[in-house]
Amino acid sequence: MDAVAVDGVWKFYGDYPALRDIRLEAAAGTCLALIGRNGAGKTTLLRIVAGFSRPGRGQVRIFGGQPRDTETRRKLGFIGHGISVYDELSALENLTLYGKLYGLPDPRRAAREWLERTGLARVADGLVREFSRGMRQRLAVARAFLHEPQVLLLDEPFTALDDKAIAVLQRLLREALASGKTVVMSTHQLREALELATHVALLTRGQVAFHGPSTPEMVADPGYVYARYGEG
């Protein structure tokens, strides 16, 4: 069974099809890089996979289950454009909150552990509104990894990260992939993504233009996929 299976998904805004007959799979332990121009539908597709919106037609299966099932949501970790942490709460309070929402047996301990792993242990009790941008991004990463999800869905995760945050994220993603977790990430930063990606999918105007394993040519010249399969 594939970790993530997108089967004939269409998404309509009114009558306009933003996504057309998307068929993609990501096997467990692989990293799928979703690339494409702005407006191609990467964010729309990721949000459907994550369960934030419903497809007009077709379905998404995460380990065979629906994205909105409670059990499935426990297995999903999502980083979107926003960091999804509360400015008025401290880093520790935020992570403990998510720990409780995800039903972890010891939310506080898990929160502290992930603050360590993202280098935020020193500022555990600081309010998020006082954090620098890089610290906020690292906290977002901690939040997504906190409940040890089987599938990580990341929407342009490397955008606007500073060097430290990029290093933390790459390290965590490598560890996750090594332990058999699945990653689907949409990205513009082809270089960082292709270092980790095992598979690549190119989205053009709501359709899949290319889907296959990542090749040495792609890693050497990230623009290769666009040139070969896209519209240039």
């Binding site: 805004y13 009114g14 009558d15 306009y16 407006g39 105007r205 709501g206």
Partner: protein, 206 residues
């Protein structure tokens, strides 16, 4: 519905209403219409509820078009009914308004469904708009009996005398036909608008 059938509805409605011409000498015109108008509005509310629930279950946008069309038609008819009643009161008592329980309840229901329209205009994205207004339609409908009963307790005396013999079933039928006509026309307009909206989005994407 085809054009010919729509025209037929309209003609039938007018024919039914022409029946009133025989009565003009005997009764005031104001008394003949306000119940049919409000009755049609009530029917429109039920239609809107049914269409909203149907949309929530099937996600078919035709039901969304029907819901908004029925609600708008209902609002128009209810407004006409309330104004009609005001004219009736003026003819009878010289005032333009009275806190009759049924009239006040009609006004409250009108405001209730007006909020549906406001919500409709405020949400831009079509799917979210349809889902949100469908939910709101259910909320509004549930409030109608509560409002009617509560206002009845608040001001039990009914100032509007309501003579059933004046209810001409042909007037009621005429209003229902007109209401259906308006709803269908509006629904068509909504479907066309949706199509244009999607074409516009498609051209933006190119």
């Amino acid at each position: 519905m085809r054009e010919k059938r729509l025209y037929l509805l309209g003609v039938l409605a007018v024919a039914l209403m022409a029946y009133n011409l025989t009565e003009i000498a005997a009764r005031p015109l104001q008394a003949l219409f306000y119940i049919p108008l409000c009755g049609t509005a009530a029917l429109a509310a039920v239609t809107s509820l049914a269409a909203s629930i149907a949309f929530l279950r099937t996600r078919n946008f035709r039901f969304d078009s029907l819901a908004v069309a029925a609600t708008e038609a209902g609002l128009a008819f209810l407004a006409a009914g309330i104004v009609n009643a005001c004219f009736l009161i003026h003819a009878a008592a010289g005032k333009w308004w009275t806190w009759d329980s049924r009239l006040t309840a009609a006004l409250v229901c009108w405001l209730l469904y007006a909020t549906y329209l406001m919500l409709r205009h405020a949400v831009q994205e079509p799917t979210k708009r349809a889902a949100s207004t469908a939910v709101w339609s259910v909320f509004a409908f549930l409030d109608v009996p509560l409002a009617v009963v509560t206002i009845q307790w608040w001001k039990p005396a009914g100032h509007l005398r309501f003579d059933w013999t004046q209810l001409r079933f042909c007037n009621l039928a005429a209003m229902v036909l007109l209401g259906t006509l308006f709803t269908v026309v509006r629904m068509r307009q909504e479907e066309t608008r949706r199509e244009m909206d999607s074409l516009r989005r498609m051209t933006h994407a190119l």
